[in-house]
Each structure stands twice: as structure tokens, then as C-alpha cells.
Amino acid sequence: MSDEKHHISSYLSHIMVLMGLIVLTVITVLITSVEMGPYNTAAAMLIASIKGAIVLLYFMHLRFDNKIYGVMVAIVIAIFAAVIVVTFFDYLYR
């Protein structure tokens, strides 16, 4: 493992990511005051997904890591998405 190169992120990039997450959190709260019906949930999920992606890419270094880890995470997300789709399949046809 010692021969592998490790990417060291700058403080600036960490602070930028932190600011981005805070801004997105504020938007999540503010958006609840806009009446969009079921799309409120979709908007909250979308913002949460963006936040999750930022954490994965920068704080967890996925962006700088070997591509195989990105593929593994993508497979995990695909399985999770499939589970969600199958669950909502029930609600769609009930």
C-alpha cells in the first residue's frame, strides 16, 4: 500500500465543499416554503443527492481515487435505486 500515491486536498477545497454543503442545506430548508406538491419531496431528494455526491467525490476522495472504486460505488447506487424503484412500483399500482 505504501507505494500508492495519495491525493492531498487543500484546505481551500475543503472549505469550498463545506460552504457548498451549507448553501444546499439552506436551500433544502427554504424550498419547503414553496408549495410544489409532490415535487417538494423530489426537490429535497435531488438536493440531498447532490450533497451526497459532493461528499463522496471530495471528502471521501472518490474523484482522485482509482476508477474501480467509482465503478463499485456506482453499482451500489444502482442497486439502491433499483430497490427504491421496486418499492414505489407498489405505490404506483396500488
Partner: protein, 535 residues
């Protein structure tokens, strides 16, 4: 039969004295073998407690009417029995004990990737167990929901549900960390020359299990947090009275808890796959097919949870989709059974206790599997849902599967773990009595379910009496067999005798190291240049 290797002295894991000695040495150990034994002793304690609870429930059912307990006590007891057996025994089960002990040895490593995290997993397991058991003594009485905590009842009951689900939540963390550790270990620490397709099949089964632990367990963790939030804060996730959906709870619960069946059964299948070629003295039939079937079970197992919900009010479209998917999972399971039997074909079979446990496993697992088809099929499930048939089915799968494999693996690896040889004749007698008791206990419950006896009641109509007597007597026979098995192993543990490194003529790496294994498993990391089962 290889003699004990005598080169330079290296302390084995049992006698090694590190920074701390005695009990403190065990409680602070990061040696995967010692952690495996910590799991073993704690899980056996919980298992035996669960057995006693089961015996008490069966005694209550020996005759209609109240015998030794009333309805509320019975409800609390079957909940605690389920929580203990599912969360404290079969889910950590074969993986936590034999996975911890043997995975690094099987792949030629010194330890798991994260030894301290491994110890932390055990502490989380113990903490979770304490919190689960504390639910019996705190608050307004033991939970009476069953281990499934179905909403909205789990939200309404005055019993101490919060402590029980909090304990289960903590146990989930233990499971996730063990899965993570095993997956990373197999990716990073395989010995030189051990490609993925040279890995023993027990290791492959742990790989599939590890991914399920990682991906499915968080979902039930969040679900339990939602139950706590709803009970304490009144948020309407699941209670229809405040805008929730109780079927959503069932979805979320079974999204984890059905794959959890594969967390229990995949390592069990892996252990059986190690035993069969050793005692058939023959290369495993269809190595690659077994690898693919392990991963296929892990994958397809994610998408079959709805078969627990056919009578819940789920949409009819979802019902037939889940039924279809459920039948698909039978294919990789059957592939394993065909491969085991094909391995036996023309083998030089050495009939020893581990082998007898393995073929007993196949027998009871087949009955469990076939009765599962009755429950996976929409029309027949409507008739048998929530009856004793379901109880019989999952005991054939969970106890007959994981339990038989657990004891089979114990008899297989016991000489390696403890460098002691047990009395094979007594072991065989114990198994025979256990096997008779097991079938006598659970098989009548198929019949009882088919004629309409509901599950989870302390009382029943007189028409169910005869089969219940048979079942209760079966539970006593099973207990006698279990006592013989445990006493036999306990006596062997205390006995002194000739130490043999490879008593069964096994070919995987654990049989190349000393008995018991030295602290870092091998004097030198082995170089692997062939497959795991070359006879």
C-alpha cells in the same frame, strides 16, 4: 495425515501472551482467531438461552389452554426468542465465528485488514445485545411485537420497543463493520498467487455476505430510527392515523430482513462447500458455478423481499412481480445443491461427523427450500400465511440451514481451532438424536399450518392437539441431542491427545498451518500456485 510441524517455536494464538494477560488479554485482542472465539462463546451463550426459550414455548403448547404462561408472557417470550436467535445468533452466525477465525488463514493473510475495527465490531455486538436484553427489564415490560416490530402495533404497544430496536440498530453497526472488514480483506490481503478464482468457496460466500451486510443493513438501521422517531416525536411515517403508511414499514423492514436470510445462509453454504470435497476426497464440482451462484443469490436476494407481504395489501402487480423474482432465487440455490451432490458422485467418501452434518444440512435445507416455494407462490401463500407452516419453513431454513452448518463447521474445524480431537462415535450419536428431534419438532408444524393453526398464539383449538404433542416431544429429543453434542465437544476441549495439523486430509490453506494456528497464522506467507481443492 500430517504430523504436527516442529520447526522453530512460535506461540499459538491460545498461549500467546501480548501486552495483557489472561482475560484482559482476550478482551483487548486484535487477533482475528481470538475475536472469532469471543464471538463463538458469546453467541453460544445466546443460542442456548434462545433454545431454553423455545423449549418453554413448546412446553406451553403441549396442550390447549394455559400451561406455564399466559398470553402476554408468551408474546414477550416469542419476541425475545426471535430477537436472540435472529440478531444475536444466526445473523452474525457462521460468518462472525468461522469467518473471523478462518478467512485470513484461507486466503493466506496474517489477519483481517482492520484488526482493531474487528474488535470494535465484537464490542458493538455485546453492547447491542445488552441493550436488546435490557428491554426486558426497563420501561413498561418486554416488547410483544415479534422480532419484526411491525407497525403500527410497534408504535402503539406500551411495551419497551425503543430499547429493543435501539439494540438491533447497534447490532447492525457490528454487522456492517464485519462485512466491510471481510470485503476489504479479500480485496487487499490475498496471498501471492491467490487469484479470485483460486479463493476457497467459503471465502467467496463471505464476500457475497459482506456486500449484503454493507448494502442492506443501513436500510433497517434507518427504519428502526424512524420507529423510534415516530414513537418519541409522533412523526407520521408508518401510523395511518397521523398520515403514515404501515406497508412502507414492511417494505423497509424486509428490504433488509430478506437479504439478512442470505447473510445467515450464504456463509453456511460456504462452510458446507468446504466440508463436502474434503470428505469426498475429490475436487469440488463446478467451482465457478458455485462462485457465480453465491453472487447471484446475494444479488437476486435483494429483490424478493415482497414475498413476505403478499397478504399485507400491497398492489397485485407487485405481488406477482415479487413472486416471479422469488422463484428465480431458487435457481442459484439449486445449483449449489446439484454441485454438492455431483461432488459426492464417485468420490472416496470418508464418513465422519462433519460429513454427516453436511449431508443432514442438505436434507433439511431442501425441505426448507421446497416449502419456501409454497410460500413464494401467491395462491398457496394466502392459505399458509401467518400459520405454523411459516414457522416450520423458516426453522428448516434458518435452524436447519445455519444451525446445522454451524455445528457441521464446528466439528470440521474443531481440531484446527483447539488442537483437540473429539469422540466421533458420541458426535454421531448426538447428531442422530438431534436430527430426529429436529424433524419431529418442526415437521408437524407444516401439517398444523396446512390445517389452519395460526402462529404466535399461546393457546389453540383441540383439533391441533396431537401434532403439537409430537412437536413438543421432538423439542425434548432435540435438546437431548444438543446436550450430547456440546458435552462431547466440551470434554474434547479439556482432553489431552495427539496434536494433528490435518486430521481430515483437507487441501485448503488452514490445513497447512499448525494446530492451533500460530499468532500470525503462517511462518511465511504462502505462495499459491493451484486451486483450493486439488485432490
Amino acid at each position: 495425515m500430517a504430523e504436527h510441524t516442529e520447526t522453530k517455536y512460535l506461540p499459538n494464538y491460545l498461549e500467546y501472551q501480548g501486552k495483557h494477560k489472561g482475560l484482559l488479554g482476550w478482551l483487548t485482542t486484535t487477533d482475528h482467531k481470538r475475536i472469532g472465539l469471543l464471538y463463538f462463546y458469546s453467541m453460544m451463550t445466546f443460542f442456548l438461552a434462545g433454545v431454553v426459550m423455545g423449549l418453554l414455548m413448546k412446553f406451553e403448547l403441549i396442550s390447549p389452554g394455559e400451561q406455564i404462561m399466559g398470553a402476554q408472557t408468551y408474546n414477550g417470550l416469542f419476541t425475545l426468542h426471535g430477537l436472540t436467535m435472529i440478531f444475536l445468533f444466526v445473523i452474525p452466525g457462521v460468518a462472525a465465528v468461522y469467518g473471523n477465525f478462518f478467512l485470513p488463514i484461507l486466503i493466506g493473510a496474517k489477519d483481517v485488514s482492520f484488526p482493531r475495527l474487528n474488535l470494535m465490531s465484537w464490542y458493538l455486538y455485546i453492547l447491542g445485545a445488552i441493550v436488546v436484553l435490557s428491554s426486558q427489564f426497563m420501561g413498561d415490560g418486554p416488547p410483544d411485537t415479534g422480532w419484526t416490530f411491525y407497525a403500527p402495533y410497534s408504535l402503539k404497544t406500551q411495551t419497551n420497543v425503543v430499547a429493543a430496536v435501539t439494540g438491533a440498530f447497534i447490532l447492525g453497526f457490528s454487522s456492517i463493520l464485519t462485512g466491510l472488514n471481510f470485503v476489504v480483506t479479500m480485496h487487499r490481503l490475498r496471498a501471492p498467487g491467490m487469484g479470485w478464482l483460486r479463493m476457497p468457496l467459503f471465502a467467496w460466500s463471505l464476500y457475497g455476505t459482506g456486500w449484503i451486510q454493507l448494502l442492506a443493513t443501513p436500510i433497517v438501521g434507518i427504519t428502526f430510527l424512524m420507529v423510534i422517531a415516530e414513537r418519541l416525536l409522533g412523526i407520521g411515517f408508518f401510523d395511518p392515523a397521523i398520515g403514515g403508511d404501515p406497508i412502507l414499514y414492511q417494505h423497509l423492514f424486509w428490504i433488509y430482513s430478506h437479504p439478512a436470510v442470505y447473510i445467515m445462509i450464504l456463509p453456511a453454504m460456504g462452510a458446507i462447500t468446504e466440508i463436502i470435497p474434503t470428505f469426498a476426497r475429490k475436487t469440488i464440482f463446478g467451482y465457478t458455478a458455485i462462485v457465480i451462484s453465491s453472487m447471484a443469490i446475494a444479488f437476486v436476494g435483494y429483490f424478493v423481499w415482497g414475498h413476505h407481504m403478499f397478504t399485507s395489501g400491497m398492489s397485485s402487480t407487485s405481488r406477482w412481480v415479487f413472486s416471479l423474482l422469488t422463484f428465480l432465487v431458487a435457481i442459484p440455490s439449486a445449483i449449489k445443491v446439484f454441485n454438492w451432490t455431483a461432488t459426492l458422485y464417485k468420490g472416496s467418501i470418508n464418513i465422519q461427523p462433519p460429513f454427516l452434518w453436511a449431508i443432514s444440512f442438505i436434507f433439511v435445507f431442501m425441505i426448507g427450500g421446497f416449502s419456501g416455494l409454497v410460500l413464494g407462490s401467491l395462491a398457496t401463500d394466502i392459505h399458509t400465511h401467518d400459520t405454523a407452516f411459516v414457522v416450520a419453513h423458516f426453522h428448516y431454513i434458518v435452524f436447519g440451514g445455519t444451525g446445522f452448518a454451524f455445528f457441521g463447521a464446528l466439528h470440521y474445524w474443531f481440531p484446527k481451532m483447539f488442537a483437540r480431537v473429539y469422540n466421533t462415535k458420541v458426535a454421531n450419536i448426538g447428531l442422530l438424536i438431534f436430527f430426529i428431534g429436529f424433524n419431529m419438532l418442526y415437521f408437524p408444524m407444516f401439517y398444523l399450518g396446512l390445517i389452519g393453526m395460526p402462529r404466535r398464539y399461546y393457546d389453540y383449538l383441540p383439533m391441533f392437539h396431537n401434532a403439537n404433542i409430537l412437536s413438543t416431544v421432538g423439542s425434548w429429543i432435540l435438546a437431548i441431542g444438543l446436550i450430547i453434542i456440546i458435552v462431547n465437544l466440551f470434554r474434547a476441549r479439556k482432553a489431552t491427545g495427539k496434536i494433528v495439523d490435518d486430521p481430515w486430509d483437507g487441501k485448503t490453506l488452514e490445513w497447512t498451518t499448525s494446530s492451533p494456528p500460530i499468532v500470525e497464522n503462517f511462518e511465511e506467507i504462502p505462495v499459491v500456485d493451484h486451486g483450493p481443492y486439488e485432490y
